[in-house]
């Protein structure tokens, strides 16, 4: 039996969530006395791939071309490798790619698939994982009953652990192409912090009073190196683009620090942010439900507080 971790570089590099996934795979392989295999799918330099050895990736296969196009083809690729290396546990990130490929892969391998798993399995016999249900209102223990198991890991629920090994990197060839999906155009911004991967998020709600007031929020985000986000009414009103909507029907985020500015804290919004490590809320209403979800709160008028806050963090950053 072996453990297979699937990761993709972004813009030729690996981010913290890739290192977390390797660390996670290493720990599970160690606990189950299995060999860890890593499949890297996407363009990256040899040096970047070799860095995965810091986290325990000893055996790496690298497909040095951009793949993610057709989920059926990508899942064929992973299924093929999983069979060759006799993978018993397949680990993928719970991002756009993992979520797209894992369910198809599960059917191909008749494997039980546990998505958005939190941290390490609580037991290996039977294989039992922790995962949220009811959009964070419940925490469940789930047993994966099949011999081959697939999990996608919720980011920031395990952490990055160094286990320095000397990796063996071999080129991976996969030539199947899609006959079913045709790409018409791609519009991707490079160098952008993805909301779902951001360490700090500054998010605005209806309390921001209008799209013209977003500049101070963006200033704060810039000072903190944060991504910007918003609540559902804000995106529904068209003040901000839909891809910034955080909440039950929007994006579920897990930053270390989340600023909820002028967000009242409806249960649907909390469902999107309840995995944040620390939440700071600013609201003029001291009774707003956001304060019961927040760790730190400031009561008052955002138009006064927000520029002041930006100044404080600017000074603080330059002082460290």
């Amino acid at each position: 039996m072996s453990v297979l971790v699937y990761i993709e570089p972004r813009e030729g590099k690996f981010n913290k969530s890739a290192f977390e996934l390797i660390s996670y795979g290493y720990t599970i392989a160690d606990a189950t006395k299995s060999k860890l295999h890593v499949l890297v799918a996407g363009e990256a330099s040899r040096e970047a791939v070799a860095e995965l050895g810091h986290y325990g990736a000893s055996e790496i296969r690298h497909l040095n071309k951009t793949q993610h196009l057709d989920d059926s083809v990508s899942s064929n690729m992973v299924a093929g490798l999983a069979e060759i290396i006799n993978a018993g546990i397949i680990i993928m990130p719970h991002n756009l790619t993992g979520r797209a490929i894992a369910p198809r892969l599960a059917v191909k391998l008749k494997a039980g698939y546990a998505s958005a798993v939190i941290g390490i399995p609580v037991s290996y016999e039977p294989f039992t994982v922790i995962k949220k249900a009811f959009s964070g209102k419940s925490i469940t223990k789930q047993v994966v009953k099949t011999s081959v198991k697939i999990v996608t890991l919720s980011q920031n629920t395990f952490g990055v652990i160094e286990n320095v090994v000397q990796p063996v990197i071999e080129d991976f060839n996969f030539t199947e192409t899609s006959h079913s999906i045709e790409v018409l155009s791609t519009d991707v911004q490079t160098g952008k912090v993805l909301l779902t991967e951001a360490e700090i998020i500054v998010s605005g709600g209806r309390g921001m009073r209008g799209p013209e007031n977003w500049k101070p929020l963006e200033d704060l985000a810039e000072v903190l190196g944060a991504a910007t986000a918003c609540s559902r009414p804000v995106s529904d009103e068209g003040w901000r683009p839909h891809h910034e909507h955080v909440g039950q029907t929007g994006k579920v985020v897990a930053p270390t620090l989340y600023f909820a500015l002028g967000i009242s804290g409806a249960i649907q919004h909390l469902a999107g942010i309840n995995s944040s490590k620390v939440i700071v809320a600013v609201n003029k209403d001291p009774e707003a439900p956001i304060f019961s979800a927040a760790d730190y709160g400031v009561v008052g008028d955002l138009q006064i507080i927000l520029p002041r806050m930006t100044e404080v963090f600017r000074k603080y950053k330059s002082g460290i």
Binding site: K137, K145, S185, T190, L194
Partner: protein, 247 residues
């Protein structure tokens, strides 16, 4: 073009979740049931396309026992033409997908649309599993759908942006917010006509599960919120650094 929209009957998203003694099952007493929010957006887009004349027929399908029929009628009242209820209590995502796949083998369709996840078990699974079981192509994280000359023009989210693609039919789309923004609310006329629209009940397949939930618990309570004086925001920066250790 004929579209199938898969819908799931879920507790209203504001429901307080309670458990039966032993914490192995959810206590659904008194729960209000709704169409899963993402499925509702999928249905809304299908209805818009039908109104625009590019879609001929919309069929909704769900795997559930008879008590889900009010939710199915609501989908019909919103604008679906007919409904299929696969008579089974799904035991996990795999089993749900298998029930859908078996029922859809007998149907004529060009596109199947599924919401990206359901608000109850948040498994992100059924759409992709169903596509694989039906052996048809799928596109996930779909945020818009147009039909031009019987060809689907699809926008999907990719890391850092979006991509426009087309797919060979029959195909399956896994959709998220953006496919529609405000869910369609049934009109009085829709509610009246829903009563006479066809609702077919088909027999489900066995209850094999690959995943089993063995325990539920409430998430840990947050400790109380520390209120910081708006005149002393330096304190906030200080606490985030020394106490929370996040900056």
């Amino acid at each position: 073009m004929n579209i199938i929209v898969c819908i799931s009957n879920v507790p209203d998203t504001t429901t307080r979740i309670k458990y039966k003694p032993g914490n192995k099952d959810v206590d659904y007493t008194g729960v209000q049931w709704i169409i899963n929010p993402w499925d509702e957006l999928a249905l809304t887009r299908a209805i818009e396309l039908k109104e625009a004349g590019t879609v001929k027929k919309i069929t909704v399908i769900t795997v559930a026992k008879a008590d889900a029929e009010p939710t199915i009628r609501k989908a019909l009242a919103s604008g679906a033409d007919e409904a299929i209820r696969v008579d089974a209590s799904p035991v996990d995502a795999w089993n749900t997908a298998l029930n859908l796949a078996e029922a859809l083998k007998n149907e004529q369709f060009d596109l199947v649309i599924c919401g990206v996840e359901s608000s109850d078990y948040n498994n992100w699974s059924v759409g992709g599993m169903l596509a694989e079981m039906l052996r048809i192509p799928s596109v996930s994280a779909v945020t818009s759908l147009q039909i031009e000359n019987s060809k689907p023009i699809i926008t999907r989210e990719v890391d850092g942006g979006r991509q426009q693609v087309s797919i060979k039919l029959p195909g399956l789309l896994i959709v998220q917010k953006g496919i529609a923004i405000v869910p369609r609310i049934p009109s009085m006329r829709g509610i009246m006509s829903a009563r006479t629209k066809p609702l077919k009940v088909v027999t489900g397949v066995s209850g094999e599960s690959l995943i089993e939930i063995v325990d539920y618990e409430a998430p840990p309570q947050k400790s109380s919120c520390k209120i910081i004086d708006s005149e002393n925001l330096e304190m906030l920066a200080e606490l985030l650094h020394t106490e929370a250790r996040v900056i």
